[in-house]
């Protein structure tokens, strides 16, 4: 069994977990919910094993390095962090509906990594510029941040649905956490994500300074991560002004995550370099 195969299987396990979470929400049944949690845990175990196995495989190929060096590996790690952050929240808030809105993101990330013809799952040797501990810290911090923003994105949609139904008529929306809780959870996740994005940008800057002698160069990827950072900084400040609660914050959170996605994928379509190989 090699790591790519194990991770492909994990993709389906995550898909099943997402399906069960949604089923448990829509049909208001407890059993699929509990199954969903266990499925997610099994998926997480597979995901973890896949990452470790890939690490070992790289060493047996004689080009050993942490499996965080290209788009495929970062997506695998992204899915892993989303599920970890989600499971923590599920435990803390004892609410599985959030899973219906967030585990699909982990499934999509892994599915994209495993199935997209544009993404190679080959273990490649590290280019000289990528041989840096700062880079590892950079990737880990960024993706923890992105995972928190992904959760906040899902929760913002939940908030937007829930707050429209003020009289509590909708059967589907009834089991959602209260809007205040969703709003607060959104904020907590964004603070958490903002801290890690900050650490991510900073470690990236330190890495750039050790590789190229400049900590900031306004290349499109750097600039987009800064744009993302500005958007979430706006959100944090806007929240402190009266009137900017709930809906507007949810919108900003959604825009912020779109910027995250653009930083991650969209930038490759822009003129410029930074992509992983540069």
């Amino acid at each position: 069994m090699n790591s790519s195969f194990l991770l492909s299987i994990t993709t389906f396990v995550y898909g099943l977990a997402a399906f069960l979470y949604i089923a448990s929400w829509v049909f208001k049944k407890e059993l699929p919910g509990r199954l969903a949690t266990w499925t997610a845990i099994v998926g997480l175990a597979g995901n973890t094993a896949g990452i470790i196995l890939r690490w070992i495989e790289s060493y047996s190929l004689g080009i050993g390095h942490a499996p965080l060096s290209n788009l495929y590996e970062s997506l695998v790690f992204f899915a892993w962090t989303i599920i970890v952050v989600y499971l923590v929240i599920e435990r803390k808030y004892e609410n599985r509906i959030i899973g219906a809105f967030t585990t699909p993101l982990a499934f999509l990330a892994l599915a994209y990594a495993s199935l997209s013809p544009n993404i190679s799952d080959r273990i490649q040797p590290l280019l000289p510029a990528l041989k840096s501990n700062w880079l590892i810290a950079h990737v880990i911090a960024c993706f923890i941040g992105y995972a928190a923003f992904a959760m906040a994105f899902g929760i913002s949609w939940m908030y937007l649905f829930k707050q429209r139904d003020t009289e509590g008529k909708s059967r589907l929306l009834a089991p959602f956490p209260k809007p205040v809780i969703l709003d607060d959870l959104n904020h907590q996740l964004i603070m958490f994500g903002f801290l890690f994005l900050t650490v991510g940008i900073i470690t990236g800057a330190v890495w750039a300074n050790s590789a190229w002698g400049r900590y900031w160069g306004w290349d499109p990827k750097e600039t987009w991560s800064l744009i993302t950072w500005f958007i979430y900084a706006t959100l944090l400040h806007a929240r402190m002004m009266r009137g900017w609660h709930g809906k507007r914050i949810a919108y900003l959170s959604i825009i912020g995550f779109v910027a995250v996605l653009f930083t991650y994928f969209g930038v490759n379509y822009l003129p410029g370099l930074h992509s992983y190989g540069a």
């Binding site: 040797p125 801290l195 900073i202 890495w207 958007i231 002004m241």
Partner: protein, 454 residues
């Protein structure tokens, strides 16, 4: 007149204290930054002209879109943000300072009763006994605690992490540090590059912006350059052995690789590129068609030699590192002239990777390159940035400040113990300046602990 001026200054100050302004500025920075990622920056005017046509070119040029992060309007936005941060922070710091550094914190029992989250417990013991049990626990887990006697019992007030209210000022100060650091760098630093052939030394470099040369007050010698490859052909490591010379004497030696630069006198040298140099000496092989014999000869570039078996004379003229043959690169190639004893000179191409190439010419002798001295130059990025330590200090402050601001709050606790018959009624109330929804949970935990003790 004076009054008028003061009013005026005052209203400017007020303008910059608004948090709405920072929301607008942050959003403007986010939106305008996009432009520079859609239009490649700092290319030649000709390239832009071709890409966008005259009309757009003029418009973009007026707005400095081709170097927008250095444009006056983008820098203005950043300066406004900096002023906004400084003014806003100073404006609020006064009030925060008073709270943080108050000698004796003021607690108001009735405010806890009316406005705080709370838990209520009923205990069998008297207020006196409970007070003695609770006090050690509370003063252990809170930094500050004091007990006051009330009409029907006692009240314990406690608090911790008052200073975390200053965290956000750390965050804002860090932004200012980043801006100051980058300013120092752009005034007192430089960003340049130099190519050094193996075995040679330089004592000046090229600056990028504005393009000019700059003398160093020491010499850099590149003793050796090496590139190694993975089996797949991807580069594995670039390594330059550098020596710093002062007055001709070596003072520092270091092998640099990507991610591990050499630093000397505040100047940093980074491995950034490399390239081949034209060789000096080439070993040629001549194969005679008549006798089938092969001869090898060492020649210098440009040196004329006689071809064995009276084949004429030969001279190498040129070296190309990536020769284009029918639109494809065929790698390193030499070119030279073969001059027969009678007849006109013939130009001959000698691709290094295809030694049989010249046999296709069907001449009397086939020439090929057997060997040559492969020499490289190393490309170094040379920078000086005295502001980098200010920036790094800003980085650390930014991370620490964000952590404090987001995850630590000024927490206050009030335990009010009231005698009721043989029993006591205990109210555990608390507030926090942030993460208020987390307070009830925290109170539950504390109450549990108190119940266990009593």
């Amino acid at each position: 007149m004076r009054r008028y001026l003061l009013d005026y200054l005052n209203s400017i100050w007020k303008f910059f204290t608004r948090i709405m302004l920072s929301v607008i500025l942050l959003l403007s920075l986010a939106v305008t930054s996009i432009v520079g990622t859609l239009i490649p920056q700092n290319e030649s005017p000709a390239a832009y002209f071709q890409e966008y046509g005259e009309f757009l070119y003029r418009i973009f040029d007026v707005f400095d879109f081709f170097d927008m992060y250095n444009s006056w309007w983008f820098q203005l936005l950043i300066v406004l943000l900096a002023v906004n941060i400084v003014v806003c922070s100073i404006d609020r710091l006064k009030a925060t300072w008073k709270i943080v550094f108050a000698k004796n914190p003021i607690f108001n029992l009735s405010r806890f009763k009316n406005h705080a989250d709370k838990e209520n417990l009923v205990e069998e013991r008297s207020p006196e006994q409970l007070k003695d049990i609770y006090e050690p626990l509370i003063s252990k887990s809170f930094g500050y605690a004091r007990t006051e006697q009330t009409d029907k019992g006692f009240c314990i007030f406690a608090e911790k992490w008052r200073w975390t209210r200053l965290g956000v000022y750390g965050v804002h100060l860090s932004i200012v540090l980043l801006l100051i650091g980058s300013l120092i760098g752009s005034i007192f630093g430089f960003d340049g590059y130099v190519n050094i052939p193996e075995g040679e030394s330089v004592n000046s470099i090229r600056i990028r912006n504005p393009a000019q040369s700059k003398a160093l007050d020491f010499e850099v010698l590149c003793e050796d350059f090496d590139v190694s490859f993975y089996d797949s052909g991807a580069p594995k490591e670039f390594r330059s052995s550098l020596t710093i010379l002062e007055n001709g004497k070596p003072v520092l030696k270091k092998d640099i690789i990507v991610n591990d630069p050499l630093r000397y006198k505040g100047i940093n040298m980074f491995q950034s590129s490399y390239g081949p140099l034209p060789p000096k000496e080439v070993t040629l092989s001549f194969k005679s068609k008549k006798t089938g014999k092969a001869y090898q000869k060492k020649v210098l570039m440009g040196q004329q030699i006689d071809i064995p078996e009276a084949g004429g004379r030969f001279v190498i003229k040129d070296f190309d590192n990536a020769f284009q043959f029918r639109g494809r690169s065929i790698g390193e190639a030499f070119s030279g002239f073969l001059m027969p004893d009678n007849g006109r000179p013939i130009e001959i191409l000698l691709p290094v990777r295809f030694p049989d190439f010249d046999q296709g010419r069907k001449g009397n002798v086939a020439v090929s390159v057997a060997d040559y001295d492969r020499r490289y130059y190393t490309g170094l990025q040379v920078t000086k940035d005295p502001g980098v330590w200010v920036v790094y200090a800003g980085f650390i402050l930014l991370i620490v400040g964000c952590y404090i601001t987001f995850f630590m709050s000024h927490q206050r606790l009030c335990i009010d113990i009231v005698k009721k018959g043989e029993k006591s009624i205990v109210m555990v109330a608390g507030t926090a300046n942030k993460n208020k929804l987390g307070v009830p949970n925290r109170l539950k935990k504390i109450s549990k602990k108190l119940t266990k003790l009593a």
